[in-house]
C-alpha cells in the first residue's frame, strides 16, 4: 500500500543500472521525504528491473515501483509518458523529481503536456520552505546572472534537476525496501523509435581503474604550474596515493600531456567533490564553472594574483611541489 503525497524520483536506467544523476536525485529525494515524514519512492521503467530496484532501495528509497515490459527496454517518450502518467494518477505523489538528461527532459515536457502540470526546468535546488506541501524550486535565469524561485501550482509538483548538484547517498546493501510491481498498460501504443547505435562518449566515459572524477570525494587537479608532463605525473601520483581522483585544467590537455577525459571545466567535466585541491591552476572562469559545486576548494599557486584564489576557500601561495609531500601525509586515509 503506497500512500498519497510521497516524494518520488524517476530513476533513469543506463545499461540496466540507475544513472549517476538518478542516484543524486535519490539523495535529495531522501532529504525531502524526511523533511515531511513521507516515504521516498523510486519509479523504474524497463524490461528487467529486479536488480535495479534493489539498488534503488540501497541508495535510499523506501519503495521501488517497477513498471516492467519488454516495450520499455529502451526509453521512448510516448510509451514512458503513458506508463508514468498512469502511475502518477494512481498514487498521487506530492512531487516527482526527474533528472535533466535528454530522456528526462523529454519525459518531463511530455508529462507536463499530458497531465496539464506545471514543470520547472534544470533546477539547482529545491526545498520545503513552509508548513504546506509547496516545494520551492530554484533555477538559474538570464544566463546564470540571477536565480529565480518558482512554485508549481499543480500536483504532482514536477521538475527536472541538473546533474552534479546533489550528492547521492552511500549505498547500503542491508537497507530493506519494498518492491512493488505495477501492471503496465500501454494503451495500444507501440514503439516506433529505434536506437541504431550507441557509442560510449569519450567525454562521458572514465578510464577504468582511475577514481571516477564524477563521484570522488577528493579530487587533486594539476594546472599549467606543473611545468612539464613529469611535473603533472607527480601530482597524478599524489592523487593515487591518497585515493583521490585526478583531474587537469585545459592547458595540460592542449599540451597533449593528458587526455580530454581528465579535464575539469565547462568543456570537460563538471565535478562536485567534498574537497577539490587545485595545484598550479590559475583558475580561468571555465575551470571555475566546472568546480562550482565543489564543497571546499583548496588552491596552491605561486602567483598570489591567480584568479583561483577568488574561488578557493583556502589558498596557499607557494610551490606546489613543496606542498605535495605534506598533502600526501595529511590526506592519506588512515588504515
Amino acid at each position: 500500500m503506497i500512500e498519497k503525497n510521497n516524494v518520488w524520483v524517476f530513476v533513469e536506467l543506463v545499461a540496466g543500472k540507475p544513472s549517476q544523476l538518478s542516484l543524486e536525485l535519490l539523495g535529495k529525494g531522501r532529504e525531502l521525504a524526511n523533511a515531511k515524514n513521507k516515504k521516498l519512492v523510486g519509479l523504474l521503467l524497463g524490461d528487467k528491473l529486479q536488480e535495479a530496484a534493489k539498488e534503488v532501495e540501497g541508495y535510499g528509497a523506501d519503495i521501488a515501483v517497477c513498471c516492467q515490459d519488454s516495450a520499455l527496454a529502451a526509453f521512448e517518450g510516448r510509451l514512458y509518458t503513458k506508463v508514468t502518467g498512469d502511475v502518477l494518477k494512481k498514487y498521487e505523489p506530492n512531487v516527482l523529481l526527474i533528472g535533466g538528461s535528454a530522456n528526462g527532459r523529454e519525459l518531463g515536457g511530455r508529462l507536463s503536456a499530458q497531465m496539464n502540470l506545471g514543470l520547472v526546468a534544470d533546477c539547482v535546488d529545491c526545498m520545503y520552505e513552509s508548513d504546506n506541501d509547496d516545494i520551492t524550486w530554484v533555477r538559474p535565469a538570464y544566463t546564470g546572472k540571477l536565480f529565480v524561485k518558482i512554485f508549481t501550482t499543480t500536483r504532482p509538483q514536477l521538475a527536472t534537476i541538473s546533474d552534479k548538484i546533489f550528492r547521492g547517498n552511500v549505498f547500503d546493501a542491508s537497507r530493506q525496501g519494498e518492491t512493488v510491481v505495477e501492471n503496465v498498460d500501454l494503451g495500444g501504443l507501440t514503439g516506433t523509435q529505434k536506437i541504431l547505435s550507441l557509442t560510449a562518449d569519450s567525454s562521458v566515459e572514465q578510464p577504468v581503474s582511475e577514481v571516477n572524477l564524477e563521484t570522488a570525494d577528493i579530487i587533486v587537479s594539476a594546472g599549467r604550474g606543473v611545468g612539464s608532463k613529469e611535473g603533472m605525473e607527480k601530482v597524478q601520483a599524489l592523487a593515487k596515493s591518497i585515493g583521490a581522483a585526478f583531474g587537469v585544467s585545459k592547458p595540460l590537455v592542449d599540451e597533449g600531456w593528458a587526455p580530454h577525459e581528465w579535464q575539469v571545466g565547462v568543456t570537460g567535466k563538471k565535478v562536485a567533490p567534498k574537497v577539490y585541491i587545485a595545484l598550479g591552476i590559475s583558475g580561468a572562469i571555465q575551470h571555475q564553472l566546472g568546480i562550482k559545486e565543489a564543497k571546499v576548494v583548496v588552491a596552491v599557486n605561486t602567483d598570489k594574483e591567480a584568479p583561483i584564489f577568488q574561488r578557493a576557500n583556502y589558498g596557499i601561495v607557494g610551490d606546489l611541489f613543496k606542498a605535495i609531500p605534506e598533502i600526501e601525509k595529511q590526506f592519506k586515509p588512515k588504515v
Binding site: 538528461s101 518531463g108 506545471g118 526546468a121 583556502y314 595529511q330
Partner: protein
C-alpha cells in the same frame, strides 16, 4: 514533406531587463533577435525538405507583431511562408500554456510531417517546448540532435545522451529539436532577400486556433515565479600563510578535520 519550424524572438541577452513586480522579461524597447538555435532548426528543416525531394517549410511564431522581423530571417534563407500567433491573452504563458498554443496552431496548419525547433530559447532556457508539442500532437521526439537526415520516410539523428552518443531513427510525423552546432546556416541569396522583404504573414488569434483565453497566459500556466535573487556568494576564502608550504598544508588539514570535511 510538410515541415513547420517553431521560432521565437528573444531579447539580446546583454540587455535583459526584468519587471521588478512580475519578474517577467520586459520586452518593450529591448533589442531583440531570432533565438539562435531556431535559425539552425530552420536550416535543418530546409535540408530535410531537400533530401525528401520537395515540400514546404512554414515558420510558426508566437509573439508580438515585432516578431515578424525574426521570421523574415528564415524566409530569407528559403522558408516558404510563415504564421504569427499574436494575442494579448498569451502574455505570461509558461511552457505548459505555450505548448498548447503552438500545438493548436500546428493542428490548424494540418498534415504536418515534421516540426523543427531550436533545442531551447535563450531567455526561457527550459527546452520544454519540443517535448510538450510532441506529446500534444502524439509525435515522436528527436531532441538535442547534433545531426539529422531523412531517408525512406524516417528521420535519423545523432545526439548525446547520458550513456554516450546515440543514433536514433523515428518515422514521421516527428518533432526535432536542434543544437546550434548541428549545421552551418546558408547565406541568403538575392531571391530570398526579396521574398523576406515582401512576405506578409497571416496573424492568428487565440480564437482562430480554438483556445479559450483562460487556457493560456498566467491562468493556463502551472508555474509561478516568486522571487529573483543574486547567486549565493562563496564565503570569503582565507589565505593560509604558514612558515613554509608543509606548515600551511598541515594547518589546512587541521582546519578541514576540525570542520569534519575530511
Amino acid at each position: 514533406m510538410k515541415i513547420v519550424v517553431l521560432v521565437k524572438q528573444v531579447p539580446a541577452v546583454s540587455n535583459v531587463q526584468l519587471d521588478p513586480v512580475t519578474h517577467n522579461l520586459v520586452r518593450t524597447g529591448a533589442p531583440a533577435m531570432l533565438n539562435p538555435a531556431d535559425l539552425h532548426a530552420a536550416e535543418a528543416a530546409l535540408q530535410i525538405k531537400e533530401q525528401a525531394g520537395g515540400g514546404t517549410v512554414t515558420i510558426l511564431c508566437m509573439g508580438s507583431p515585432a516578431a515578424t522581423e525574426v521570421m523574415r530571417e528564415c524566409i530569407a534563407i528559403g522558408a516558404n511562408d510563415g504564421i504569427l500567433v499574436c494575442d494579448g491573452g498569451v502574455r505570461g504563458s509558461d511552457t505548459l500554456a505555450t505548448g498548447k498554443v503552438l500545438a493548436k496552431a500546428i493542428e490548424k496548419i494540418g498534415g504536418v510531417d515534421a516540426v523543427f525547433t531550436g533545442k531551447k530559447s535563450l531567455d526561457g532556457d527550459t527546452g520544454q517546448i519540443p517535448p510538450a508539442v510532441a506529446q500534444r500532437l502524439g509525435m515522436n521526439l528527436l531532441s538535442y540532435v547534433e545531426s539529422v537526415s531523412f531517408a525512406d520516410g524516417k528521420l535519423q539523428a545523432t545526439r548525446k545522451n547520458n550513456s554516450g552518443v546515440e543514433t536514433i531513427e523515428a518515422p514521421t510525423p516527428v518533432v526535432v529539436s536542434v543544437m546550434e552546432t548541428a549545421n552551418t546556416v546558408r547565406t541568403p541569396n538575392l531571391k530570398g532577400k526579396m521574398s523576406a522583404k515582401k512576405v506578409v504573414f497571416p496573424v492568428w488569434t487565440l480564437a482562430d486556433i480554438n483556445l479559450a483565453p483562460e487556457a493560456v497566459g498566467s491562468s493556463g500556466s502551472g508555474t509561478k515565479v516568486t522571487e529573483l535573487f543574486e547567486p549565493p556568494k562563496h564565503e570569503q576564502g582565507v589565505i593560509i600563510s604558514g612558515a613554509d608550504e608543509a606548515a600551511s598544508i598541515q594547518e589546512l588539514a587541521d582546519t578541514l578535520r576540525s570542520k569534519k570535511v575530511i
